[in-house]
Structures are given as C-alpha cells and as structure tokens.
Symmetry: D3
Subunit: 68 residues, 6 copies
C-alpha cells in the first residue's frame, strides 16, 4: 500500500492531547519534534498514546521553505 | 519574527528542480529527506540552490499520523 | 497500517496527465469524479495509469461544505 | 458563481458535532462517507444540520492517491 | 449558495500564467496582492484573464499568523 | 528571513478566541477581514491579542479563485 504523499517520516509519539473535536499530537522524528493536529476521532481510532511508533505524513504541496 | 506554524525544521537543500509554474525542492533534515513543492517564482526569489541552509515549514493541521 | 486521514475512498483511475513537476490524476469514485494533483515523481513511482484501483485520500481539515 | 476547486460533490449531512472552535461534519456522498472539519462559526452560519443537502468541496492539490 | 470557507475576498485579476498542469494567478485585493496556484484546467474553464472580477477564497485552517 | 509562502499581508488582530486545542483569530487586513485557525499553543506562544500588528500568511497553493 503506497501513498502519494512524499513525506512519511518515522517517529515516536511524545504526547497526545484530546480536545472536543481535534487532538494535538507531538511526535519525535530523529532530533526534531513534529506537531500534528488531527481529529479526536482519528486519535481515538488509532489509539494514539505516548511511546507509539508512527509515521508523520505530509503532502509536499504543504511544505514551505524558509531561507535565512 | 515568529510564525504560528509549529513545524520549522532546519535542513540543507539537496536538489531544486524548476518547472514552468512550480518547483520541486528536496531538503535533508537530520536523517530524513523532506520534499516540498513551491512556486517557481518563490524558488527563484529565494535563489534556492543545492547546499543552502533552510527551514522546512509545515502548519500542524497539514500533518497526518500513520500507525502501523 | 492506518492513516489518520478520515477520507479514503476507493476508485478507479480514469486519466493521468504528467507535467514537468506535477501530475493531474482523475479518479472515478462511485458516481463521482475526484481530481487530484500530486507530484510527477509520485505518479511515476506509483506507476499510476488508467484502470488502476486506488484510494483517494483527503484530510478532513481540507474539506469545505457548501450549502445551497 | 464558479469556484476553481475541482471537487464539488453533492451529498447529505449525516451528523454535525459542534466543538468550542471547530465542528466535525459527516456527509453521505453516494455510497461513501466524507468527513469535514470546519469552524464552528461556519457550521452555525450555514445552520448545518442532519438531512441538509450540501456539497463537499476539496481543492485538487489536497487530494492524495493511494495504490495498493 | 454559501461556502464554509471564511475568507472570500473580492479582487481583480492582474495576471494569469498557464503551465502544463498548474496556473499561477495574481489578484489585487484592496491594497494587497494575493497569489493563487490552481489547475490549468480550472483557469481555462473559468476563462480567467486580466481584469476579471473574482474572489480569492481561503479556508481559515490554511491561514497562519506571523507576529514581528 | 524569507519564507516561500507568497501571501504575507500586514494587518491588525481584531479578536482571538482560545479553544481547547485550536484558536480562532480574526485579523483586519486593509478593508478586509481575514480569519485564521491555529493551535491554541501557537496563539499563546505568540501572545496574540486584540490590537497586535501581525501578518497573515497563506501558501499560494491554498488559495482558490471564484468567478461570478
């Protein structure tokens, strides 16, 4: 099963906070922290919790570049 | 100058390909590769080229989670 | 392997047009047509072609509602 | 009035859940279910409720393709 | 016909450039310039050209805030 | 520090509402109102409040065009 999204980085869940509709998920990816906001329903269905091995997935059209 | 986007990861440009309207930019971020599609105009204005130090910037609402 | 994106609809590829950087993919989903723009690189790596069985995947935060 | 978004699929609202800032809307589109997260303010201004005839609208750059 | 996207700003097309798959559209909105990338197909179907009265439409979840 | 996002419009915060996970921010940009949904965490870290001078930032691939 292959998804067109070009960014699929492995990491470990560090924190999950559930709100009424959305959930805020913090994932360690190598030396970096990546933050995600998904629906609470998805967070519950995936049973996301601290320590889970996951991938963070981002479509390349959503990635901006900043140059100092 | 602080931007609300929660994901701003430092990296190094590995490749820039310019199309007619869009540009495909490949950035090394730690052990990972992150790919970005921006406008050709932005790639040119930023003078993006291999070796540049940049940040890849992603709004957290654009980040999905995959759990195996 | 479960992805947080809540919309993952099965369909059949009707058309793939490759540009320099992007590709335009047309998918039949039930009675509807869904159009997608992904990178050319992804279209090539997935070897997308007319007749392929695929899923169109959309994060729920990207879906708007129009009421007449 | 024509919108550039290429995906505008007719459906029927099955569920609306209002949160503090966001709302989760579930729409039946043919045989499929499409889920949307919009602002609570929009859900209230559109007076969205179960049974409403709506269109789900998605920009094609937000649609990914998964091939099994 | 009401769309949930909270940002729908009136403006005038200043430039349209057609690429193979995408089109780059520049719109004057009050004192500001707003740039959009849509599919070439949509630009052609809308017959977008310099001088057209249009609205630029953005879902609020796509808007970031920068504070100096 | 230059960001690839082509739309970076100066404005003044008119309202900030904090939810459990997300925040709804209203910004006056010239004669227009622009609404943004960001994480509550970002709104707090930026100490966003009525009267702040900010920029609203939108990637051009997120901007649709509506023609009447």
């Amino acid at each position: 099963m292959a998804l067109s999204a070009r960014n699929q980085l492995p990491g470990t869940v560090e924190d999950v906070r559930l709100g009424d509709i959305m959930a805020h998920v913090v994932v360690r990816v190598g030396q970096s922290i990546v933050e995600s906001v998904i629906t609470r329903t998805s967070a519950e269905e995936l049973k996301l919790k601290k320590g889970d091995s996951v991938r963070v997935v981002v479509k390349s059209t959503e990635v901006m570049i900043q140059k100092d």
